[in-house]
Subunit: 170 residues, 2 copies
């Protein structure tokens, strides 16, 4: 409390003078934007009787086909039991296939079926569409700033997952 505020130091270039008000706007922007971000997927999922948890599973299985359950648990940050319920549904509905590991037969490797790929693709497309539109509205010079702030906001372990998923090149 006693620290910020006054810019006793040098330049003004590297130092950010962020009022609580500016920070609060950023916070509220995150809140409202996240709602928009999930709105389109939610609509499609609802038609199929699924929720966000199903989407998250589909997304990351699509992203890393053959991933095992433990890895998925780490990424999603939920309990085994919670994920299992969702996964069970997706497997029973024929959207996800669970193959027993070859080297380690305890592990189950997860893949999307053709049906699974269709639904995942449909959802991914509306989500990309919104992202595309947002980038376009904001201007391309906004994109890198957006991404940099988001990455800086993650917890370190989340950042690891994020980077591990990245296809290296951006």
């Amino acid at each position: 409390m006693a620290d910020g505020k006054a810019g006793g130091t040098k330049s003004g270039e590297a130092l950010l003078f962020l009022t609580d008000e500016q920070l609060r706007k950023g916070i509220e922007a995150m809140f409202f934007a996240y709602r928009g971000f999930t709105a389109d997927p939610d609509r499609i999922l609802e038609e199929h009787g699924y929720g966000r948890a199903h989407h998250r599973a589909l997304h990351f299985i699509a992203r890393a086909p053959g991933t095992n359950v433990n890895n998925l648990l780490g990424i999603l940050g939920v309990t085994k039991q919670s994920l299992n319920r969702v996964l069970r549904t997706l497997i029973d509905d024929g959207l996800v296939e669970s193959r027993i590991g070859v080297q380690d037969k305890r592990e189950r490797h997860l893949y999307l079926t053709e049906t699974g790929k269709i639904l995942e693709g449909e959802i991914a497309e509306v989500q990309r569409a919104r992202m595309r539109a947002a980038y376009r509205k904001a201007g391309h010079e906004a994109v890198s700033g957006f991404r940099r702030v988001l990455e800086a906001m993650m917890d370190p372990d989340q950042t690891e997952f994020f980077n591990a998923l990245s296809g290296k090149e951006d």
Copy 2:
């Protein structure tokens, strides 16, 4: 599908060439960042036996003291029954005060009590701290891009609430 890709056109300045891969990274960044964004508040809330729903109510009451229930419903995008449960708890616990309207006695105007202000302030501070740190890490030129993309991602009605809450000046 047949359109994007090839940059047949002029410059390259105004046009964005966004691969699905780049969009996907933005999507995943949103996912992981939002988790970071809520992590600190969640911790504090848990100590008090509250959840995110309580935080959202506290936040917007703090932001717009004297707001009525209907307005809050609009901002939060939940049902009356859902909000009521949370509000009931906060009122019973003495964090929120509900005053009958003067002009319109049907309305209830909501205010934080001193206790409510303390908890809200505590949560707001850790959230601002993370936002501040993220801005600092990302560099100040990233901030405006971040904000512009988020605003562009909102649904129009959410944008309205967002702007209505803003103290005009940024």
